[in-house]
Amino acid sequence: MLIEGFSQGFVATASLVAAMFFLRFWTRTRDFLFLAFAIAFAAEAITRTITVVEGIPDTNYSWVYVERLCEYLFILVAILRKNRKTS
């Protein structure tokens, strides 16, 4: 479907741009949290692109949701790590 491709492409591009902003914030602050967000959003962009190109479902598909799981855990770990270092 055309709208599927469009919406995935939209979100993938937006995620990629967000990732680049977060990457820039990371170079300025050296705060790992920004790098984590950059990686997570970049991974989103890549995942969505692959699901459209390969024509596979976006959610209930083995490596897709495993990858998403890794993203979420990565963010969580980055947040916790930030706070462990503060104390």
Binding site: S7, F10, A18, T59, N60
Partner: protein, 86 residues
């Protein structure tokens, strides 16, 4: 199994959204307003995905709604990053 992942995703996004909303109240920095809205929107999208995968019958498909919510959330984030990050 997949549904549980999206539930987790919803919680992570919700946590980010709430932390950023709190930060916005403290600092009044608009970047936090927009990114908070984005993450809350992504949390909503995660919740809808969870519902779609686990609780709702196959006759109801939230696919397009989820896509729309995610797209609007990312648009809000981009707006904030472009205009309010310097």
């Amino acid at each position: 199994m997949a549904a549980a992942v999206y539930l987790l995703g919803m919680f992570v996004a919700l946590a980010c959204g709430v932390l950023l909303a709190r930060g916005f109240k403290r600092s009044r920095q608009r970047l936090l307003l927009w990114s908070s809205i984005c993450f809350l929107g992504l949390a909503l999208s995660g919740a809808l995905t969870f519902l779609d995968l686990s609780l709702l019958p196959p006759t109801i498909d939230l696919h397009l709604l989820r896509r729309a919510v995610t797209a609007v959330s990312m648009l809000v984030l981009l707006y904030g990053l472009v205009w309010d990050s310097e």
